[in-house]
Amino acid sequence: MANVFKYGKKALMAALLLILIVVTSACSSKAPAQGENNNPGMGNSNSFGKMVLYTSQPQDDVTKLLDGFKAKYPGVDVQVFRSGTEEVISRFTMEAQGGKPQADVLYLADAPTFQRLKDQGFLEAYTSPELNEINPDFVDPDHMYAGTKLIATGIVYNTSAPKPEATWQFLLSEQAKNKVVMPSPFYSGAAAFNLSVLTREGFAGWNFFEKLKANGVQIVKGNGDVKKMVASGEKPYGILINFEALKAKKQGSPVDFVYPREGLPVITEPVAIVKGAPHLEMARKFVDFVLSKEGQQLAAKIGFYMPVRKDVPPPKGYPPLSEIKFLQRDPKELALVREDDKKKFADLFNLPK
């Protein structure tokens, strides 16, 4: 055997040819797939044109939500960019700073993040008729963005471990020593949000995080990693958003969630229209749909989300809204302090900032 990676000249040519064939056939198989999206709209009197959505919602949820939207507005062609919150925001910011925002609607993250986009002048105000049914705490006073769901952060645990007491103090107890995992505020926007909220609450403060460190908390990248580590039993307890925990439980993972009685920081995944959106009409219709009773029911059903509307009950598995104490802060304040809080956190945990 002269050469490990040996094959004849003919074989090389054939391989190249094969790649070409695959590429061209893939090209041709792809073209109609794209056409399918456009076809229903063409020549149809109900055609509603196009819209571009940037979101970090799970792919499956987006698809189903859009199915509902398209049923209402047949023929609308919605282009989606879905990725991690950080990826979506940085792409949007980059495009907006370049003077050519591509998105019509943003649908992700938390109020402080949108506050910052608002301060940078990237958002367009819109008073949706649906806002009446939504707690004003979750809506921007200038109607630049509105919350779409309630995602609360509490304590997740592996069901093979003893059920934790419903208090944040549990995480500082002897029972939880070296057994707690939390997401890093440097990678997860939700974690950064929680940090700013909790450090401003009397019952927690920076003292809480100092003690967490002393109790041997492990910091991982994001909420997904926390969920996996708790589900596999690597760490029996974790700080996690309820949505991830309850969804994993519903799928059958050995995890459950407790709601600390002091209260839970809550993220609202706002929706907003981009300033200069090329498809403004459609964007407004989409925001209306997301906030409508129908849209909220759909989100609760397919995505297992806790609705932001008062008149839509949460899916089974959630406690009634009245039993949870939500911790809130002014998004303006939170937007200003986030970077400083992250620096303090880095100092505390001896991480580079």
Partner: protein, 560 residues
């Protein structure tokens, strides 16, 4: 050495220069400028001063250098040993090594990382086994920390060294070593003084590739080093990306520049090793000299193959078993096994097929463009001593060394508000350009290694004899470089096929890649779905390569 002055045709130079300028130089220049111009303040040196005077920058850089060098050492030792055993020894069942190497290349890093956590995490299989044997809960070793990062990066990148070294060793004519033996030189001395130096271009190319890959890897440090409180350059850069402020992006740009300088330093060090060129007579049909391993032959094979099995099959099995679980963390038993994940993936066959098709188009396109491109560049460096091509090659590494997220942001920056009025923003062409920039160096390393071994006197003689340049290329250079071209094509194709970080920022409806699909499922909390999808992808390509073998289009699997 006397050499005939050969001038590059201006057309070739212009085309290659234009492609590289458009794909690599232009976005990187925009990125670098962003380090000094912020949207709010205009020109500013504040970010530069911040980066330079922050102690964290240098701690992080130091960690990155140490980890990358150590990982490169592991990759090189493993890669060279395996290559030597396969090409120059009578080890039994050598094809196992080839298959294992291919598997390593095929499994995307994010899949491997997860699998390793499952094997070597604090409650991973090995520690559970150890606890079971010991009768109490013990942790022998866990993968979190810089040691785990080094080991994983070293393993992940050994195929680079293996492939380039095996190719280089295969080209050494047996006569050279035989002559040494007739002078009574000992075997180990021949290996040290003759064989390895002759294979040096290949070894160096593979090692530098392993090094820059380690510098630029984000997934492993995020998964394994971060939970131990250790930050490397790529994870540090990502922290700044998440900072979102205009200053923080300037810092991203400057930190990425630091990483790029690290890679270019590596390339220049590599050049020192290649100062003395090692031309070999290239004979196509002669088999390389094989050494008998004697008594250690069988034990060595058993040891090696069990090691490789642990390193490649185990992650595969971990991935496969996970894909059978109803939800992450459910204990595996006959009652819990389910095929529902596969049903989910196959139910949306259209999306799955579309992702595979998009990845195929991108990987195929990238391969078809990077190979000729790097061929011209490598030839320019070897035959024409062109400074232009030398620096094109060095700078071409940068797009591979910066984290994929940063490259993607640079591409967005470059094309959303372009200096050159090309309306490609948001199209698949933009992703293709980004891929060409990113994977150029994978091809270029293999081809420069090939040209470094190619004796330029062949083409010179041919030219003296009046043979036309294109004939010369077709009859001499191409056949002699075929193994290098194959390696380059294989590497670029597979890496592009499973690429994640660049496409996860650049895709839009209808152009999701395989990587994006897995990531989207994973990010949505459907770990079991994403493992099912990854299993299907591996199966798909397993069948693909089996068919290749069947149709006698044998590629990489020897032993026909």
């Amino acid at each position: 050495m006397m050499r005939l002055a050969t001038k590059e045709k201006p057309v070739t130079l212009a085309v290659v220069g234009a492609v590289l300028a458009l794909t690599t130089a232009y976005p990187l220049i925009r990125l670098l400028l962003a380090g000094f111009f912020t949207p709010t303040e205009g020109f500013t040196l504040a970010p530069l001063l911040q980066v330079v005077f922050q102690k964290a920058t240098w701690t992080v850089l130091y960690n990155t250098v140490v980890v990358s060098l150590a990982a490169t050492a592991i990759s090189s030792i493993l890669g060279i040993t395996l290559a030597w055993l396969v090409v120059k020894s009578d080890l039994p069942c050598k094809s196992v090594i080839n298959i294992a190497t291919l598997l390593f290349l095929f499994l995307p890093p994010y899949v491997q990382g997860l699998a390793w956590l499952q094997l070597w995490g604090p409650v991973g299989w090995f520690n559970q086994l150890a606890s079971f044997i010991a009768g109490k809960k013990i942790v022998l070793w866990n993968v979190y920390g810089l040691d785990g990062t080094i080991l994983l990066l070293g393993l992940l990148h050994y195929p680079f060294v293996y492939m380039t070294t095996a190719t280089a060793l295969g080209k050494i004519p047996p006569e050279v070593e035989e002559v040494a033996f007739t002078y009574g030189v000992s075997r180990s001395r021949v290996v040290r003084r003759v064989t390895l130096p002759l294979a040096l271009p290949g070894i160096a190319a593979g090692s530098i590739l392993a090094f820059v890959s380690s510098v630029g890897n984000f997934g492993i440090p995020a998964l394994v080093a971060l939970p131990a409180g250790k930050i490397l350059l790529t994870t540090y850069i990502f922290q700044q990306v998440v900072g979102f402020s205009s200053i923080s992006f300037a810092r991203v740009s400057l930190l990425a520049t630091l990483g790029a300088m690290l890679a270019i330093t590596g390339m220049m060090v590599q050049n020192l090793f290649l100062k003395h060129q090692h031309f070999t007579v290239l004979t196509k049909e002669t088999a390389p000299l094989c050494y008998s391993l004697g008594r250690v032959r069988i034990p060595l094979a058993v040891f090696l193959y069990s090691f490789l099995a642990c390193a490649t099959i185990a992650p595969l099995i971990a991935m496969f078993l996970n894909s059978l679980l109803p939800a992450y963390g459910v204990p595996l038993s006959l009652e819990t096994i389910t095929l529902k994940n596969y049903r989910f993936i196959l139910a949306d066959l259209n999306a799955t097929r579309r992702a595979i098709a998009t990845s195929f188009i991108l990987a195929g396109g990238t391969t078809l463009i990077t190979i000729p491109l790097s061929f011209v560049v490598a030839r320019g460096i070897a035959e024409k001593r062109s400074k232009f091509y030398l620096w094109a090659d060095r700078l071409g590494t940068i797009a591979y060394t910066v984290p994929g997220t940063v490259l993607a942001l640079a591409v967005i920056l470059a094309w959303v508000d372009p200096w050159i009025p090309l309306p490609i923003y948001g199209s698949i062409v933009m992703i293709l350009l980004a891929y060409i920039a990113r994977f150029f160096t994978l091809a270029a390393r293999n081809l420069t290694a090939g040209f470094a071994q190619l004796n330029p006197s062949y083409t010179e003689v041919a030219r003296v004899l009046g043979i036309r340049p294109w004939q010369c290329l077709w009859k001499i250079s191409l056949p002699l470089l075929r193994p290098n071209i194959q390696n380059a094509a294989l590497l670029v194709f597979i890496t592009a096929l499973t690429e994640l970080t660049v496409s996860s920022l650049l895709w839009i409806s209808g152009s999701e890649t395989i990587g994006v699909t897995i990531y989207n499922l994973e990010a949505a909390g459907y770990t079991t779905y994403s493992t099912a999808f990854a299993t299907l992808v591996v199966l798909f390509f397993g069948v693909f390569f089996l068919l290749l073998k069947r149709t006698r289009l044998q590629t990489f699997l020897p032993g026909r």
